[in-house]
Amino acid sequence: MNSFTLVWAYLRYRPLNTVLNLLLMSVGVAMISVLLLIGTQLEQRLSQNAQGIDLVIGAKGSPLQLILSSIYHADVPTGNIPLAQVRKVVEHPLVKQGIPLALGDSYRGYRIVGTTVAYPLHYQAQLAAGRWWVQPLEAVLGAEAAQGLGLKIGDWFAGAHGLGDGGQVHAQHQYQIVGIMAATGTVLDRLVLTDVETVWRVHEHNAHETDETSDEHEHDHEHEEQTTGSGYLTSTDPDAALTAMLVQYRSPVAAVTLPRLINGQSALQAAVPAFEIARLLQLVGTGIEMLTAFGALLISIAALGMLIGLYYALQERRYDLALMRLLGASRGRVMRQLLLEGLLMALLGASVGLLLGHGLTEWLSQTVSQAAHFSFTGRIWLVQEWWLLGLAALTGIVAALIPALQAYRTDIANVLADAN
């Protein structure tokens, strides 16, 4: 019969009180846990996906929308930008690299992105199977996209117009899968990549399609150069356009001059990811802070409930405690008994709360489609959660402190005499 067994017996003896306190504590901890998990992973994913991208160029509109649609593929693009203007930016001496993005189609919810191989290489993506695209209408799938679509190398599919479900299917243009990327933990995992010219070709008028198809084999070698490099820039089509361009600076000086230059002197918009992400996190952060405060409030209510519960339990158990003293327990032993009760209840509540929080996060990541853009998981453990557990333990001890001190001061002779 150790202290733990005795505490456990008391907790089981008052099931309603125990369950209510556990519930309050666990809901509070679960709420903070979910916010910690999602907030931390959101921040990580946002930074990870934007790493190494100094500037995003797109059509005029909301800079945040441009960043969300181009880097995170989580919003609709602001519009298209003429290739002629993009060319000027790419050729600017302060620009080290420009990665083109041509959006417009999707396949069963997965976006088809026309780009160059520089795009996956920017995220250090590696092929799990197959090869990169070298010809028009060849596609490489991200790891999640391959799994979600159930496609394998050699399979064919036709994209649909628009970035959501229900668009017009481009049945005449069948893509062949030539490669599948290994998981990168970035937005790439959910994309279908192909070359820029394929996207242009799919959106050209049907009248041109027959001629183009017959020319394809003659120009294979030419396309091989274009898809892996900057061949798309040599297009002479006056209507050629991109959705956005991800830019890397050659020099830090570019950060000062380039955005201002582009925004002021062209029809293009330049958005700085670092700035927009900070703005987004500030907006999201306010909500997270409010919910965290609510979670903390629930934990405080749980602590108060524990204090009241233990205080009244102490009134009921004055004779039990006096009896323990009579049988040889020291004042310290009796005090520790109540502190342990508060601690155990808080730790139990916090543990259940953490389990709930992780379970809920995992469920959210799999059911909320918007969350899927950021690939949340509840299967990770954050260092902050140790602190949360510690905080809950401290709360339990503090809540038990007043009843424990009262137990410490109990005059056993008085209690036993009163009982008679």
Binding site: R325, G328, R331
Partner: protein, 212 residues
Amino acid sequence: MFALTAVQYCYQQQPVLNIADWQGEAGSQWLVIGASGSGKTTLLHLMAGLLRPQQGTIVIQHQALNPLNERQRDQFRAKHLGMVLQRLHLVKPLTVFDNLRLAQQLAGLKPDRKRIEQVLTQLNLTQWQHALPATLSQGQAQRVAIARAVLHRPQLILADEPTASLDDAHCQQVVQLLQSQAAEYGATLVIATHDARLKAVFPQQWSLEGAA
């Protein structure tokens, strides 16, 4: 054995108990008689080291209690004394067996399952060992309280009004149990009561009338 010499205890400046000299040999069995409020419980609490007299000395098993600090008195009590309280208080969330285990642990003894089973058998409680206190009858609870008091083989057993709410048959049974258990361990037994039914059973009696 016990010896109380010139013991005076006051509560809020009012004398509650005055004992010039009272001694009992090891193994002796005493009945302390007194009306309600005569100081019976106070006397037992003084002998158990729960209260300290303002004057006089109390010696239990050749150990003077006065010089001991609170922790030492707790330990002394746990080792040498067994108490049966008027209110048969058992720890409600624990079974009969676990109540005895708790007593063993608080007395600083090693867990001894056999000893618990032995006492339960002696007091005819084996079939109730897994019962919660709330399910016991008054008589059964009384036996558990006695089992708890004798579990660690104390040298002094103090019982405060152990028969107060019992009928004649149960009263006789409880007294016999206390006497037989004390005799088995050679313990000194002191029963404080106002129950006149016990007068015929104890040859050694001490009255608290006029002790205040």
